[in-house]
């Protein structure tokens, strides 16, 4: 019995082992790049890469829903950890921002209307999403006060909360938080590198930050035209075309309306905007 089994094994085992080993050797190793592609395609992992920006090199992150984060590449920090904490999704560095996306980002930063650039604000509180969405309406080369954003989203007294929401803007430059300034004329804080960076970005859009501050410090909140009898924010595209001889200035919404001026429909001057007594 024992001998028989032994003989049987001796006959059968050698080829069987060869067989099993030969087959096991057919295993494949999946390339790393394939699993990266898999994870990006399912949307459970987002991607980021560096690209050149108009002023600074940028880190741009994106997922299936659109651009999800932008940061200055020269800004040291735990980008991946912060990203995951906010979105709940891991993010992986890849070689390059896809050309189409990179082009769209640069065009948007440069003030062009770009339709196919979606921003992904998932993971942010509702209030912050509304602040950022409103901020995206501010045209290139113009600024609005924090109070304006607060008023427009229906929380006129939440100026500070607006400031915080903008300071935590995950997609600066594309969502132009730099176009929101203090009512008293100071340029204010900036999440992507402080006030001097903010001035640089505004200057790159053709605005003169010093001039904006001078105007505000003289008490000018709005400017109007005595021919159209419409008043605007000073940086409003329409306001900047008013000839000097027709130009009037106002310290508040009230004083403008009392003089018979109506608010501009493009820049929508804020009601609460006034110079502190």
């Amino acid at each position: 019995m024992t001998t028989q089994t032994g003989t049987h094994e001796a006959e059968g085992l050698a080829p069987a082992r060869t067989l099993v080993e030969g087959l096991r050797d057919l295993r494949e190793n999946c390339p790393e790049s394939v699993s990266d592609r898999v994870l990006a395609a399912t949307g459970v992992v987002d991607s980021y890469a560096e690209m050149a920006g108009p002023i600074w090199p940028l880190i741009v992150a994106w997922g299936r829903a659109g651009v999800s984060a932008i940061e200055r590449a020269d800004d040291p920090g735990a980008f991946e950890d912060e990203y995951q904490a906010r979105t709940g999704r891991p993010v992986r560095r890849v070689d390059a921002v896809p050309a189409r996306l990179a082009r769209a980002v640069l065009r948007r930063i440069g003030g062009e209307r770009v339709r196919d650039l979606a921003v992904d604000l998932s993971g942010l509180p509702e209030f912050q999403r509304r602040v950022l969405a409103k901020t995206m309406e501010i045209p290139f080369g113009e600024v609005r006060p924090y109070a304006w954003v607060a008023e427009q989203i229906g929380h006129p007294r939440a100026q500070r909360a607006v400031g915080t929401a903008l300071a935590l803007n995950p997609i600066p430059f594309v969502i132009p938080c730099h176009r929101v300034v203090r009512s008293d004329g100071r340029i204010g804080q900036y999440g992507a590198g402080g006030p001097s960076a903010k001035r640089a970005v505004l200057a790159s859009e053709g605005l003169d930050p010093d001039e904006l501050e001078r105007l505000a410090s003289r008490g000018v909140r709005f400017v109007g035209s005595d021919t159209t009898r419409i008043f605007c924010f000073p940086s409003c595209h329409d306001a900047r075309r008013i000839r000097p001889e027709h130009r009037t200035s106002f310290r508040s919404w009230q004083s403008a309306t009392e003089d018979g001026y109506r608010p501009c429909r493009a820049c929508r001057p804020s009601v609460g905007e006034t110079v502190a007594a």
Binding site: P15, L19, G22, L26, E28, V38, L39, V44
Partner: protein, 224 residues
Amino acid sequence: MCIECPAALASDLVSGFPTLVAHQRDLVYGVARRWSRGVEDAEDLTQEAFLRAYKALLGYSPGRISELHLRGWLARITLNLARNRARAVERRPATGDLAEMPEPVDDRALAPDQVAERRESREMWRRLLATLPPDQRAAVELRHVEGLSYPELAEALARPLGTVKSDVHRGLERLRRAYEGIQADAAGSPGPAPDPAHIRRSSRAARRREQSGSFRIEREVMAR
């Protein structure tokens, strides 16, 4: 094999899925590689299979996910996709294009003659596998190349446990005979070890068989 995956997936799909991909990508890629034509096809297939799996998991309850035989289930998705694709190009799934098979990654540590030897051996086993009827080939591959358990195999091939067991055994027996045939040929002839013409003949015969009859595995798996 991957005990923690079902639980991780069931509790949080988004954070559990990367773990699933990390643990099972060699299985999915291996099946894709052997049932598609080239490296690029296999990569696309791998991506598509995981995407399918992800979408399916999104709709599954945590209870259902934790009961899945994940490896068998993933193998089934991959095999189905491979067959759909092969059908789309009106071509039966054949063994991968051998000329295109890349060197396995761990070959880099081997000496050149060992690399050649291993490559030859892999090629021989691939050719031998290609002579099996598809049912048996799939069963043998999943059991002995990928190391799936019999319950996982039953899930992968959508067939009863007893059937997949007998397919594995019959497939192995055929392989063993084919292998012994090669050894005998090598011993009997003065030429180089495996006679390629012999393999090609049996491979062609197998393909003829595939084309003439439709196999249960295909009908059943495709119907899902």
